[in-house]
Subunit: 344 residues, 2 copies
DNA sequence: GCTCTGAATGTAAACGATTACATTAATCTA
DNA sequence: TAGATTAATGTAATCGTTTACATTCAGAGC
């Protein structure tokens, strides 16, 4: 009900009988002010309930002490783990995180540029897909004054000047596919994310490369989009199950979609891995809990987050763009129960 | 490499040969300025790559066009759904959301107060537990000048002046327990969240009430804390399985913990629901996908988010605190396969 | 007591936008 | 065309801090 205007530094100064400069120093450089004055100011602060206006501070300092993380979905367990890594690093600095969720929509270069130029943050971590990812983003990037680091999503070569941290998605997907092949599978389907998602493209590329190398053909209709979520994958899986040349294994570009597949397969009265094998990607915390437990590729999510954040802070503190060497972290095949030899 | 200082309105004005006021008007009230001038300014904006400094705008306007959502965990699928509801409402206003994650830690009254007075946002949505939740928060709340709405977590009666939107957790938990009882279970355990979590307390209360009404006793060691996550629940479940008087059903305060239980039960060579029934709470998207699919209480998560946001914006726009009637939304028992009659 | 020195405090400019009010330009009316 | 009216633009104050610089103060040494 009160709706009191909040006290400003001026009112504190008045009550304490000092200048606003002294109040400011009491807060930011307490040892520059005499004990006696300081206690008087402290009392005034307490009396008024004063707290600095952070917006005014940011404005004056030209620094927000905020970093922005642009992520595809706050509900995705994989990205949540990446965030944990980021948070652990941010905790060592006096910074807050603001999260910008794209909801798995690919951001346009304009949107990225608009965010970067808004000065709402001192640095940016992009975990989301950007499209088109060519010269436009590059152009925006050159105008930007805050550092940017990309995590997870690789970006086309022309953007190599923006630093990134990620796994080798192509190699990991090849490895996953090879594992299915080594189990005796010859008919392997792939469910990808949105066609604009680069990280999905890389995984698809790895899948195709492995199939090609093993001289296995990919039938029309074996590669489908699943929108990176349960529903989309279930739908795609439904189509695969009706395919005249039904695959014996399905490789999903992320775990969430693998869960969707397993659900759909069960719903159709078939079982994993007896009738169909399912392979995921990410190793989210639900993968192990599934029944059967999901065989998948583990990404060092937390570590990715940490490294991304460390690079960003290094850049923020040095006042320059971070060096642009991409950091490639190791992935790992996690064998569980969702893949078995096909009945022939 | 460029590290160009970003253009300010002053530079644009200079290039266009007008005053800064005119530039400002071009952006905010374009029809107040002559066509000819406008195009000249537009050109200058393009040339300089100018974009308003949002911090300066917020500062001057005394309005950030940002709302802050304080949530326990961005990885929790339930809260993610609530966020979807919030986002859908926010999309209709010219606002951004900034997310403050507490990582399931209970916030102290001081932290809540600090956030509220920081003026980083025009309004706040609290989805997280606050403790202690008595007069201290109330005191802070009286000083606040931005509106606050609480979602999901109920708050002790003394805080009734802060509006909230949630389900009737006591009734829902009673209903869940009744369902187990009606299936013939007499030995029912409960896994709660942190002891400071109010919403969990309400659910525990409902469980105890139902047991009491059915004249069933709750043995020492049947009520455990599971930290609202998979691991914590698995650990708690392990203890329950070793209990001398082993329960035939476990009711978990959220689905995440139910998944942890199911995993642990399977790991110990037992099966759900044949050996032990498991009941969850929330109906997250993974509940249906589990094998067996999880029987649980569905909360209207998205709707909660929408209602919370609507109330908040109403308050922001009217410049007053929202009215304090709590809004209670309906829950629903979702029967799937994880609960069956006990053998014996 | 006087000067000197360093510490403590004060003064005022700046950050980049918005906006009330003043001024100038364009248009209309008679 | 003068005068009135309205539209377009400019001037300058303002928001709440921080901080360079100026000033004042307290104590030391003589």
């Amino acid at each position: 009900m009160s709706q009191l205007a909040q006290a400003s530094i001026k009112q504190v100064a008045e009550i304490a009988g000092v200048s606003i400069a002294t109040v400011s120093r009491c807060i930011n450089n307490p040892d520059q002010v005499r004990e006696r004055t300081r206690t008087r100011v402290q009392a005034a602060i307490l009396e008024t309930g004063y707290s600095p206006n952070t917006i005014a501070q940011s404005f004056r300092r030209g620094r927000t002490n905020v970093i922005m993380v642009v992520m595809p979905s706050i509900g995705d367990p994989f990205f949540t783990d990446v965030m944990q890594g980021i948070r652990s690093v941010v905790a060592d600095h006096d910074y807050s995180i603001i999260i910008n969720e794209t909801n798995f929509n690919t951001m346009t270069a304009e949107e990225v540029g608009a965010i970067m130029v808004s000065r709402q943050a001192d640095g940016f971590i992009l975990l989301a897909s950007i499209f088109p990812f060519g010269n436009e983003v590059l152009a925006k990037a050159e105008k930007r004054s805050q550092p940017v680091v990309i995590g997870c999503e690789t970006i086309s070569a022309s953007l190599a000047d923006i630093p990134s941290v990620h796994i080798d998605n192509v190699a990991a997907a090849r490895e996953a596919t090879d594992y299915l092949i080594s189990n005796g599978h010859k008919k392997i389907a792939f469910i990808s994310g949105q066609s604009t998602s680069l990280l999905t493209k890389d995984r698809e590329f790895g899948y195709r490369a492995a199939m090609h190398k093993a001289q296995l053909s990919i039938k029309e209709g074996w590669v489908l989009e699943g929108n990176l979520n349960i529903e989309g994958a279930a739908k795609a899986c439904g189509k695969l199950l009706k395919h005249p040349d039904r695959p014996t294994a399905i490789f999903c570009a992320n775990d969430e979609m693998a869960l969707g597949c397993m659900h759909e397969i069960k719903r159709k009265g078939l079982s994993v891995p007896e009738d169909i094998s399912v392979m995921g990607f990410d190793d989210i915390r639900y993968a192990e809990v599934m029944n059967p437990a999901l065989t998948t590729i583990a990404q060092p999510a937390r570590q990715i987050g940490e490294r991304v954040a460390v690079r960003l802070f290094k850049a923020i503190e040095s006042g320059s763009q971070p060096n642009n060497q991409p950091v490639i972290l190791p992935h790992k095949l996690i064998v569980r129960q969702s893949v078995a030899k096909p009945v022939s």
